[in-house]
Symmetry: C2
Subunit: 267 residues, 2 copies
């Protein structure tokens, strides 16, 4: 080995080429709802940082030699704050490793992808985003229904009930108008405020509500109720996170008037 | 062959067990954005009924012996009205064939899945829905952006500009409020009405607009503009269907006042 090539090797060791980062959607749970592109990333990764909600069956499809690091973000948990996750994925890439940041559902939908994108770009690292099947889509498919229905619900609203700590509650009333299917994410703990907000806005309390937990997994369960009864059903049912709450307000819906208003009030 | 077994065979021929129907999401275009489940259905199908927007690369992943039938639904085309599509998929299943109805994107999002589900169920045929990556999700991933951004856009509205023939125009104003990313599907021909409706509703005309055509395919292109300039850009640009029009109204956005209002009026 010549002195020059030794120097080159040392220089390479000292500052390896940064590895790429891919923010990969793991889909809603069922491993076969992964995309082919996501599978390829998992099979080429050196290290995979994954969330609490990623199904173990998805991880089993990854390259056996890949290191798998749990960055367990429970709702409200602070052991893996976002800044720490940003730091570890960037550090791994700077060591030249091919990094997969595996996020349940679609990284672009309530996945806090922007924070990880900005951290990676600030470090000069290229990032790919691989979209995934979001839970609302899988949940409705499991129910054998369409999220939109032509002439009845021509729009689909995906909203989260859980905003940034310190932020005011979301504008509940703005989530739902006639002709809309609302899929509310992370709403289990916010049902009382959410239902009250919709009632104040004059949303009919007899609208059909469907709650789906753990969509596409073996633990999936669903319940159909009305908006008026939703808080009571939720309290009784012990629905875990992640659950999706669907509310369908068809263009043809006519409020059933005073009787249902009373039912709404009784809850 | 015994007379009994001959009779059995004849009986089987006369009324075969109906085949299953799967409404399968083909994803936005790129073949590797297909899910593993969708791939399995394509590889087990006897017959595949597919739309204009399904990429040929997706069809090449199907079982070679599967019959592929184009049921080319262009926007506004009437050669394959929905009722005819319903009839042919049901007839194929009743002949005992395993039917895949391959729909671009996600069958549950603007896919008219309900009409096909109802036709199949009326004939007593079981239907599976296999969710797919919808175009908005793929388009935003291609741009390297998130559809929602925590603390800025906490909700995502997917809306279509093209409703049932004879229906009034959609409630444009209800599509967009602060804190929302709007992804408008099938909007290319409706941009003038849409922009005017938002302006009447007081939506700031300086909001950022991104148009993405043919997301995830080799022909993908995107343009960034403002809501005020959108009609002119659209008219000049010749954006084909399918294009997604994204409008982002962050919670932090402050209308830039009179000057931008004038710009809005000038278009």
């Amino acid at each position: 080995m010549t002195p020059l090539s030794m120097l080159r090797r040392l220089a390479t060791r000292a500052a390896p080429q940064p590895g790429p980062i891919a923010l990969v959607g793991a889909g809603p749970g069922a491993a076969d709802l992964l995309t082919l592109r996501a599978l390829r990333h998992l099979q080429q990764a050196d290290v995979i940082f994954y969330d609490r909600l990623v199904d173990p069956a998805v991880l089993r499809l990854a390259r056996p030699r890949a290191e798998k690091v749990f960055v367990g973000k429970e709702v409200g948990a602070s052991d893996w704050p976002q800044a720490r996750i940003n730091a570890v994925i960037v550090a791994a890439a700077l060591r030249g490793r091919r990094v997969v940041r595996l996020k349940s559902g679609d990284p672009g939908i309530f996945g806090r992808a922007t924070e990880e994108l900005e951290a990676a770009r600030a470090a000069g690292i290229a990032v790919d985003i691989v979209p995934g099947i979001t839970a609302a889509s899988a949940a409705c498919a499991s129910l054998g229904r369409s999220l939109t229905e032509r002439g009845q619900t021509d729009r689909l609203m995906l909203a989260t009930a859980t905003c940034r700590p310190g932020d005011p509650d979301p504008d509940w009333a703005g989530m739902l108008r006639p002709g809309t299917t609302l899929a509310l994410y992370m709403g289990v703990r916010k049902v009382a405020a959410f239902t009250a907000g919709l009632r104040r806005a004059g949303v009919p309390m007899d609208l059909e509500v469907t709650i789906v937990s753990a969509a596409s997994t073996a633990a999936e369960r669903s319940t159909v109720t009305t908006l008026a009864a939703l808080p009571a059903v939720m309290q009784a049912g012990g629905f875990p996170n992640p659950s999706i709450i669907f509310i369908r307000w068809s263009k043809q819906h006519r409020a059933a008037g005073a009787v249902l208003h009373l039912v709404g009030k009784a809850v």
